[in-house]
Symmetry: C2
Subunit: 442 residues, 2 copies
């Protein structure tokens, strides 16, 4: 194929027809990205297919939702990431079905042949059997979700400013977050800070500092998977920011303006115009499709159970990684759906594939090396959990900043984000406070 010849637009799918083994990766999240990167130098042709043309740095999405960063700051075009790796091609498309016996993946624009298939298609929001709540709450998964949340929060303050009915005003200025895991904690902290600090002088008729931010968690403490000490520190930090934390509290019902909750048997109704859902995720329809095609086993959250080397029992050429995979972790609990797990799994399956090509003995089972967890609370506070080392406060926040920036710089030289952060830190400013059309289907 002569790309230099301007006379022709004709081309052949060279990656399909070349003699090298074909690796198809579904999903350009943390798992898919690391798998592709680790295979970049190997004697294979890689096709990475994703619905979106960019990799999203999910851990900072709450910053977009609260006006601190722009979507462009936390996304990298997949093509830009792999432009120098000529054995990787990127396809924009949505996977529809699988033909494991013919080793084919069906997507909206055609078929892809594979010798090895890596499924890293991620998850969607889970409403614990209340799918109707999806219309009444906002979840934080995509860039569009974040823009919609930003729109909803900022609009609530705008409408308060011109609202004469005090009851309605209170409803507008009450923000409820369901779920006291890392995402819920980070959202609650950021919204409290937005209203207490960034917006405090912006209005004339209302005072954004009066806004109520309520964080609801069913367990008896925030960050249930974390050490007890850090849960206490987290609650203290949120108290300090003016967030109302309600543990041991379950959601019973949500309608357009009221969320009904139950604490220790007593029910309460909270009037709120904005309910954010950070209480759980569920596997996409990909898992059901896979299960139907090849008889894979799903766990209750819809994740696919995989063998010790992350492949399927009946199909050694299909690997499942990231949030879509059910992998047993310490204490018989499955590994959490977080970025470091997906990244390590991506690297691991790349190694399994390379070892097989070299005819090496089967690889050791996958083992997750926990390098630690960080949750940020507001502008300069975080909790850090590195095994026996647990700490909180400003130093934890600094660690959080450098870990995240390091990742962003690795892929896309997003040095600019570091500078913007520093700027926001000193000015308490959130520059990306736009109310724009979200594009989210109502």
């Amino acid at each position: 194929m002569d790309l230099k010849n301007k006379a022709t637009y004709n081309f052949k799918m060279i990656y399909i027809t070349s003699g090298k083994p074909q690796v198809v990766i579904v999903g350009g999240g943390f798992g898919g990205l690391y798998a592709a990167k680790s295979l970049a130098g190997a004697p294979v042709n890689i096709t990475l297919i994703d619905k979106r043309n960019f990799h999203l740095f999910q851990p900072l999405l709450y910053q977009v939702a609260t006006g601190g960063l722009s979507p462009g700051d936390i996304t990298s075009p997949l093509r830009a990431v792999f432009k120098r790796h000529k054995n990787i091609r990127v396809i924009l498309g949505e996977v529809r079905d699988f033909k494991p016996d013919e080793k084919k993946v069906i997507y909206d624009n055609g078929e892809l042949d594979y010798d090895s298939l890596i499924l890293a298609a991620g998850i969607k929001t889970h409403y614990f059997g209340h799918d109707e709540w999806a219309d009444r709450t906002l979840a934080l998964k995509t860039v569009e979700d974040a823009i919609e949340i930003r729109r909803k929060i900022l609009l609530a303050f705008e409408l308060s400013e011109i609202e004469f009915d005090p009851q309605k005003q209170k409803e507008l200025m009450t923000f409820v977050i369901v779920g006291g895991g890392p995402t819920g904690v980070e959202l609650a902290g950021a919204i409290a800070e937005l209203s207490q600090q960034t917006l405090k002088e912006d209005f004339r008729a209302v005072n954004p500092a009066f806004a109520r931010v309520i964080l609801i968690e069913a367990a008896d403490r925030l960050l249930p998977g974390y050490p007890f000490k850090l849960s206490v520190k987290t609650r203290e930090a949120l108290d300090h920011l003016g967030v109302t934390v309600r543990t041991k509290t379950k959601v019973i019902d949500i309608d357009e303006t009221v969320i009904k909750v139950k604490t220790d048997g007593s029910e309460e109704s909270i009037s709120s115009g904005t309910v954010l859902w950070a209480a759980g995720m569920k596997a996409t329809s990909v898992s059901e499709r896979i299960a139907a095609r090849i008889g894979a086993t799903l766990d209750p959250a819809g994740r696919i159970k995989v063998g010790p080397n992350l492949s399927l029992e009946n199909h050694a050429d299909i690997f499942i990684i990231g949030d879509l995979a059910h992998v047993d972790g310490p204490g018989d609990r499955p590994l959490a759906g977080v970025a470091p797990v997906a990244m390590q799994q991506g690297k691991y399956v790349a190694k399994v594939i390379k070892d097989r090509l070299k005819g090496k003995a089967p690889s050791k089972p996958f083992k997750y090396h926990d390098k630690g967890s960080l949750v940020v609370i507001g502008r300069n506070h975080a909790v850090a959990w590195f095994g026996r080392f647990q700490f909180s406060g400003f130093f934890a926040w600094l660690v959080w900043v450098f870990v995240h920036i390091g990742y962003l710089i690795e892929y896309d030289n997003k040095l600019i984000v570091l500078i913007q952060w520093a700027w926001n830190y000193f000015t308490r400013k959130k520059g990306a406070r736009l109310i724009t059309a979200s594009g989210k289907k109502e």
Copy 2:
């Protein structure tokens, strides 16, 4: 009103009920922003009403449309701009009607009383009697427009990559821009650069450098209002970037995949999936409403004719500024709808209002002081027109950068944008290349 008392959410509209004269400003673009800013210290209460919660730095919108900047980089929340000016309040709302005899403005959430009214509501796209072309082309006026253009351009390359039909592929990779004024020239340059440089290594099956960018202009040269010498330089620079410039060419028809044009009597059909419209603007329905209510005179483009001090003849308390106003300029041509004109008009009407309050003699008629024009072509080239001083090339581009940055920094300390630009300049990178839902109604 006690804003400190958390027990009450009650409030009164203090700005309406206070004894100071009320100034209502409709629109937070360049005209409205400068009018409000100039009145900030005066003994008046100001209400600025806008449909959007942010001021948009329109001259850089083409950078968002071509992936170089994020919307947050070129917008400033109106509330943030005026947070320290306690006599200015901002209202999010859309003006529906006027009652000039009662001195009231009707908006979607209520009424506003005014003693002086400044209308700076801007314009919308004008299709020269072919409103059906609005559905088939993309104009560049709002942030959503820019995101939609970005989506369309990037998607065209993505679809080319998986397209087997060479004819269809050529159609996808042909971008037509209608209108050879500053916006058309800047868009054409940026798209050419995107395809020739930024994307050149990103694809495997197609070469983005083959993309055709066609700029169509009805007059016999680009930038018709500019000195002839600069039109020639502009054309040279676009030729160098690989843009096909077609002057003396009129659009006859546009359908979904074909744009039909006529040059010197001979017709031609160009297959193109993406047609951008940069050929003219028209006043919003505000002008028709005003005209109907008070018998104002409209010019053919829908702009309102104003008196020498920018007020209406029958209503000295209503001022029209910015793109909505028809003000005679040099050579009996109306002043162009550009930012510097609007900014000077905003300052001017603020002075007229302040002079009236002081009981001073009527102000001198408005006179536009042309400080020069700049049009940028690609990454490091611009044309500059400062009266007798006309120049082009890298130095003109540097002037352009500093003029624009200076403005951005004045309002929002957007130093970050300067750094990002510098970064883009050295890396030829366009980081904000997201395909996201546009939110634009189809």
